[in-house]
Symmetry: none
Subunit: 122 residues, 2 copies
Amino acid sequence: MAEKPDALWRSGVGEFIKTQRELANLSLRQLAEIAKISNPYLSQVERGLYKPSADVLKSIAGALKISAETMYAQAGLLDEIAPPPGGAEGPGVEQAVRLDSRLSVEQKETLIRVYRGFVERA
Amino acid sequence: MAEKPDALWRSGVGEFIKTQRELANLSLRQLAEIAKISNPYLSQVERGLYKPSADVLKSIAGALKISAETMYAQAGLLDEIAPPPGGAEGPGVEQAVRLDSRLSVEQKETLIRVYRGFVERA
DNA sequence: AGCATCTGCTTGGTACACTTAGCACATGAG
DNA sequence: CTCATGTGCTAAGTGTACCAAGCAGATGCT
């Protein structure tokens, strides 16, 4: 007998998954199939009704081509890395661009210019 | 994930936990109390009867003063993301973009589209 | 001899992670 | 309009992660 968990324990990871899924232009069923979980369950996870296990998180992360560590961090399962108080977060877009050996120098400059245009205008 | 009914398959984590526990000179009950789980459950986990959730793993890792990442690695939950077929990179531009909370969804899509336009030109 | 108090293990039960089947509403093709 | 197929969501059930209570063998103390 499955009782509904009455606590909408807002974990934030559901929101994160949904955002990433939409960014990848995947439907709920598509992602569910790739991640090998049922689509209703994924729906409930995205809406914060259930807190998925690490196995599922890893599987979803793989399907979204996100590192498992990032996923666990979003799920609050990893020892938290304090976000830099001043601004940028995560790996850092500019640094990632500079480290990408497949980009030419001009391409890097273009990307960084566009990125800064987006960011430096609050 | 409703998984296999019965199996002695997952011996890795349990053994690891037991080793670390004995290395720290902790009894089963002591570790269980610090990790805030029941001692019978810890016993079963160590013997590979149950596969603990990430929450429990993190808690045990904390009690043993081991990093959660090490724990997850031992549990086989921290698999590396498959490297891109063309050539692997460092941090990953796309992931960095996705994780930047200062960007809107449209901005992320734009940046990723431009980035892919640069890169996917084999 | 007791009885304490360790040790780890078994039993019985509850909560929840997760599934299969199916609903209700869109959109598009014939 | 009707049918098909897409979207996400609900309902009902199964399996298991996990806990409280208690068992059985050591060791030690009086």
